[in-house]
Symmetry: C2
Subunit: 646 residues, 2 copies
């Protein structure tokens, strides 16, 4: 009878910890809090395991290659490109390494920092390229240690181009990628997943195609986990290469590198660098249209789509690697046409996760940073342990200071002149500030005809969920309740709900209604009178920039405001209103008035003084309606407050 | 404006852990799981703090004194008396110390073990008496260390009666209670709350009433936290004593010891021991009715009620201490008439809590032991840390063996002959076992006219909550689905619901439907076929005595089956179905067939063989319906199973 079932295991309760070992040492910490990884097995896996899982399940995937930008502005743009392209669900991205560009430095444009940002702030599985030629062992070890510390788990081990004409092999030096692979395995054991490069037509410097295959096998034997190939122009080239690899005993995944032709000059440059020959049939098409970028890109997309289809149809290819050249349109189009760009509206958690290994078990955050996840990650980057659901207790680490409002990954995507158009070239009083908040909520243009698409507290347009509250939000902002965060109450919607759902299917999600806003002393005075009527139902925290803090929260305990119930799981409660971290958030929320808004104006200008006045005198208020099964009473609280004022 | 509000505090986020310190070192462990103490402030407090809280709030309270029983059977009875009297809400109980009776030993009748049971298994705040006269320092330290290890937090420090006629003070010995108080404070710092005895009419051996008051003050100065008085017969006696104490500067709580007269002989004996004089007006009433126990007890109750009323009405008394003489009726009646017996149907958690300090933060248990909380506490007594919500992980401690089924606090309250009447003098087959289960569910007498009020897995009648499922349970037990644990699904009832509510008011409680039963191989085979249809909705664990284990639970994660949402709190999830601990429970659940039932019969008797057969061949099954907002599907699962069998 037992044979009829799928899951059978013989277990005896006398073997003390059977079963426990499977959860791995990192997840079996002292903390007994349920961690989200259970909800999302992939979040716990290394890249090579993810690849295998996709291969086993037959799910096709893609990955994206980027190079580090040249300027700080370029970095801001690249990071928002990461965020946008993350929506399509790449298995990983990789960041190239250019020895001349100080790639391991702390500069915002270095390979190291871009990869760090992708992992930690964009939540992307990331491979950092690294070359070894002309570098000392100590330098390389230093780069690897730094990468590890930053949470990077994957290295693309490359030789790199020798500097100078008369490069010669150094004895005991790093002459080939295989030396770097060996070094990583020697010094870091199995910590990193290692990728190496394959050359479908042989490396240009190799004696022969066959010799090059042997080098590739050596790299795999030295410890590489998978291979990404150089670009090629015909699917047959790759398929033959793959078969040849298999014939000599290379069994690890081999991922074809796809280069959608996007322009005449970029193609020429790449061909020159890679010493590849462009097939005549392609040249024949391109040469006549070489000055028509759009035509070339359309052709490149067509070509890439049909080559990718051949690869996927061969049954030998499960994933495709794209050389994006840091561009978005062509690759996205190819992926969409192939049907492997998969925008999944479901979220593993209500907030943007980070891919740093130590944050894999992070499953709870204060709601305050909901629109500033990168800032939250930045301010908690020194924390040793996640999850941490009790910021208030003495053992919890403190939040880092946020003085670096201009760190490229925290910076607004908009330029100063655009911000001035949105938020007003010249403010005439508090009411003109109310107007900005109101326009942001309604999506209507301001009186100068500009739409307000971001605010200092939120660099993106209103969340879909917040749209549910639009009408009420508009009303209250117009009257000086300047909302910066809110969520409706939810009494058990399916976890697959397109607007408020998160986590795996089959569950139910819940929310307590939340409202956070800046407002004047006068309104707060009335509000506090009204709140007495709601004492047992509504929890509030009211604080000004000096830290005067008024609350009815018991014992500085966090209040869970989002939670989910899933089949066969403990309860997940990913967002809380935490009284202690609110005081850290308060500093940031008030500072944003000055850093992002006031500083747009000349010192001592009336506009700047208006913002400064609000910063100095307003209160930051948050309200939670604990009675989630009933109709949200927070709007009534606000209405009562206005009524009292009239 | 800020002055208008009740809760105002000035806090700056730059002081790193402000607020956190208030939660105390024991609650601020690494674990970030929410702990129940938040729900019930008293559970975190020491006895003296609880007393102060009651005094401040004006809530009147009572406490109960017991002496250790003489026999093992007496111990069983006393423990179930503890459980019953706990229902009225005593602030604490205390257990007396009799040097001649080996009070610090491990015997089931020792003061130490009775106090241990009260704290750990009955969840009662407990004071252990301890005398010091004629004992060595090492002995006393040993007793105190043992008491601390067992989780006792309060000591009543007494001199005790000197042994022998010619007792003389020993130099540097323990001659008076004050020596013991000093010793406890020297050796154990502030760990214990210390109580000392007060004598409203002066200690019989004291030179004078005034001299005795001075001794009392010395005991308080040496570190006693409060005073319980010897019994007295008139409220004036106590009130004068209390005033005299205050006049010489004794400020700690003084609790009057109340002795409801329960019989002529017990009164005479007590008077002899305490060398008190019974007032003439009482003698006048008692002497004529000295052979009428009921009349004396009625009189004693009247007398106690009126004296207690005078004490409480004086405004000086907040708590009353009762000398119960291990009896229940008189004290309970006095308390009920005074209105301070407070049966609170609300539970802090869905299960019986333990008062051991290390378990103060315990907030989650596997559902399996729901009807055997004492066994759960016993089997986890060696655990160092609570809460522990992840029995499955490698860092969690193992469950202790349960071989001692006859430990007095785990033993059935019923005698062998009563069990045989309930469970059958002679079994004729599996059907007669089905009949026993069915009668337990329905409450109807069995065919010999006896009601089945307990089962090996549950020493009490059916829980009120289970009554909700009675009809279905009856049907399935009749057909051989032998249920031992179940709960209905609950989709957000108020936490004050009289049947399924728990925790503070203003919250909402939830449950997933749960069903646990023994059943035959044949039924399990059909059940597994049926369960395929419910794969994504129902989680199951099916195991036989040999440990063959069939489950669809993901990754050995616990499944939360009871949880509560409260204002301003994190989610509380006090019961889970935990796959790993299920295998420990399985051993116990199967063993109970043999230990509690089979062993009632002669070896090799047909009745015994029937139970042995079930033990060897049946499966233990648990089912969880994850879709708590929908109608419970578990009955449908069972119906489908029977249908498949037909």
């Amino acid at each position: 009878m037992v044979n009829e079932t799928q899951h059978t295991c013989s277990a005896s309760s006398s073997s003390k910890s059977d079963g426990g070992s499977s959860s791995g040492s990192e997840s079996s910490k002292d903390s007994s809090r349920c961690s989200t990884p259970v909800l999302d097995a992939e979040r716990h896996e290394r890249l090579r395991e993810k690849m295998r899982r996709r291969q086993d399940s037959g799910d096709r995937w893609f990955s994206l290659e980027f190079f580090p930008p040249r300027t700080a502005n370029g970095a801001v743009n690249l990071i928002s490109r990461f965020d946008r392209m993350a929506a399509g669900g790449p298995l990983f991205i990789d960041v190239t390494w250019h020895p001349a560009g100080d790639p391991g430095s702390d500069k915002e444009t270095s390979s190291m920092i871009i990869a760090n940002t992708a992992v930690n702030y964009c939540g992307l599985e990331t491979i950092l390229h690294m070359t070894c030629c002309n570098q000392t062992k100590d330098d390389i070890t230093g780069h690897l240690q730094k990468a590890k510390k930053l949470g990077l788990k994957n290295i693309m081990a490359l030789r790199g181009d020798p500097v100078g004409e008369e490069w010669e092999e150094e004895v005991h030096g790093f002459n080939y990628a295989v030396d770097l692979v060996k070094h990583i395995r020697n010094e870091f054991d199995d910590y990193f997943d290692i990728c190496v490069a394959g050359y479908p037509t042989g490396h240009p410097e190799a004696e022969s195609y066959e010799a090059d295959l042997k080098y590739l096998k050596e790299k795999v034997l030295a410890g590489a986990d998978f291979i990404i190939t150089q670009l090629f122009f015909r699917s047959e080239t790759f398929l033959k290469f793959m078969k040849d690899c298999q014939d000599i005993g290379i069994t690890c995944p081999i991922i074809p590198g796809i280069f959608p032709i996007q322009g005449y000059h970029s193609l020429r440059q790449l061909v020159k660098l890679s010493k590849l020959e462009v097939p005549q049939e392609i040249k024949d098409v391109i040469e006549p249209i070489k000055d028509n970028d759009a035509a070339i890109r359309n052709y490149g997309v067509e070509l890439a789509v049909s080559m990718c289809r051949e690869l996927l149809d061969s049954g030998m290819v499960h994933g495709l690697h794209f050389y994006t050249l840091n561009r978005e349109v062509a690759t996205t189009e190819v992926l969409k046409r192939l049907g492997i760009w998969k925008e999944d509206p479901r979220r593993p958690l209500p907030w943007a996760v980070s891919a740093h290994p130590k944050r894999r078990v992070e499953d709870v955050r204060p709601i305050f940073w909901a629109s500033r996840p990168k800032s939250y990650i930045y301010r908690t980057q020194e924390w040793d342990d996640f999850p941490n659901g009790r910021w208030g207790n003495s053992s919890s680490p403190a939040f880092g200071e946020l003085k670096d409002y201009y760190l490229f990954y925290l910076k607004s995507k908009s330029a100063r002149e655009d911000l001035l158009k949105m938020w007003g070239e010249e403010l005439t009083g508090e009411e003109s500030v109310f107007e900005v908040f109101t326009c942001y909520i309604t999506g209507e243009p301001n009186k100068n005809g500009h739409k307000v698409t971001c605010m200092p507290w939120n660099d993106d347009p209103l969340a879909t969920e917040t749209n549910l509250l639009k009408e009420q939000l508009e009303k209250v902002n117009r009257r000086g309740i300047l909302t910066i965060n809110s969520q409706p109450n939810i009494n058990g919607k399916p976890s697959t709900d397109p607007i408020v759902g998160w986590g795996p299917s089959g569950g139910y999600v819940f929310q307590k209604a939340y409202l956070e806003f800046f407002t004047s002393n006068e309104i707060v005075t009335a509000l506090l009178k009204v709140l007495k009527k709601y004492e047992s139902r509504v929890n509030y925290h009211i604080v000004n920039v000096k830290g005067q803090n008024i609350t009815n929260a018991p014992d500085l305990q966090p209040n869970a405001v989002t939670w989910g119930i899933f089949p066969g799981r403990e309860i997940i409660q990913p967002t809380v209103v935490d009284p202690v971290s609110f005081l850290y958030w308060k500093d940031e929320a008030f500072a944003l008035w000055i850093e992002q808004w006031a500083k747009l104006y000349e010192e001592e200008s009336p506009s700047r003084m208006i913002i400064q006045y609000i910063h100095d005198n307003y209160y930051l208020v948050n309200l939670v309606d604990n009675d989630f099964p009933l109709e949200n009473c927070l709007w009534q609280v606000v209405d009562d407050t206005f009524e009292l004022l009239n």
